[in-house]
Symmetry: C2
DNA sequence: CGGCATCCCCCGGGATACTG
DNA sequence: CAGTATCCCGGGGGATGCCG
């Protein structure tokens, strides 16, 4: 079964929102090299608030893109790791990251030119 | 010069927001095969309101991803076309579209499983 | 440590109506 | 045709405080 993002009623539309989300991208990329704890993610994803981090992690977990593992120890320890499905997004996410970092110069120039008109 | 999306102060962060935006993606993909008029875009990008379409087009134009050409005729005619920079995003956008459409089934299953817990 | 709850403000974005 | 203008509501998202 194939979705159609051009159909406004297709669920794949909501998926486009999720994978296009900045926090989602940064979290997925952060987990590229293996599982991380909540606090490690908070440190790596610069600027994210606890609320948004939790919200993003829950959404990604619900969509089956990552797993959440609670270790019953004191102090608590919770690990997050990409699923196979989540890993299949890595190349795409890194592609977007790379495009943004590579072309940001041109875009800033274009913005300046546009604003100066 | 290279940006760093992991730095919250880097302008490439705003760029990540823009290219991750659902309307931006759909507009860029719609323009893949050549220029389109405003009304043609409105028809192809299912569900977009005039306000969001205009807003999205202005943002993409400002970032140098597409050009806006006004023909001084009656009735008015305005064409939108990707720049080279915009075209360089096409593979990435189509990759995201394809991923979403291919994996939407698995994701819907994952959501149902999660919600049933 | 890893959250969830609450408050609150701002603005994204839809609907509708009007114009060059 | 290709927008702009206005209204208005819902929710995104930050700050703060509490808990197991």
């Amino acid at each position: 079964m194939k979705g159609d993002v051009h159909d406004r009623t297709c669920p794949s539309r909501t998926l486009l929102d999720r994978i296009g989300d900045t926090w989602s991208m940064l979290v997925v990329i952060a987990l590229a090299d293996g599982s991380l704890r909540y606090s490690e993610l908070a440190a790596r994803v610069d600027g994210v608030s606890p609320k948004m981090l939790t919200q993003t992690l829950r959404a990604l977990e619900r969509d089956g893109l990552l797993t959440r593992t609670v270790h019953p120890v004191v102090p608590p320890r919770v690990d997050y790791a990409l699923t196979d499905l989540g890993s299949s997004l890595l190349d795409l996410m890194r592609g977007l990251e790379d495009w943004a970092e590579t072309h940001i110069g041109e875009v800033v120039e274009a913005r300046n030119a546009y604003d100066a008109r």
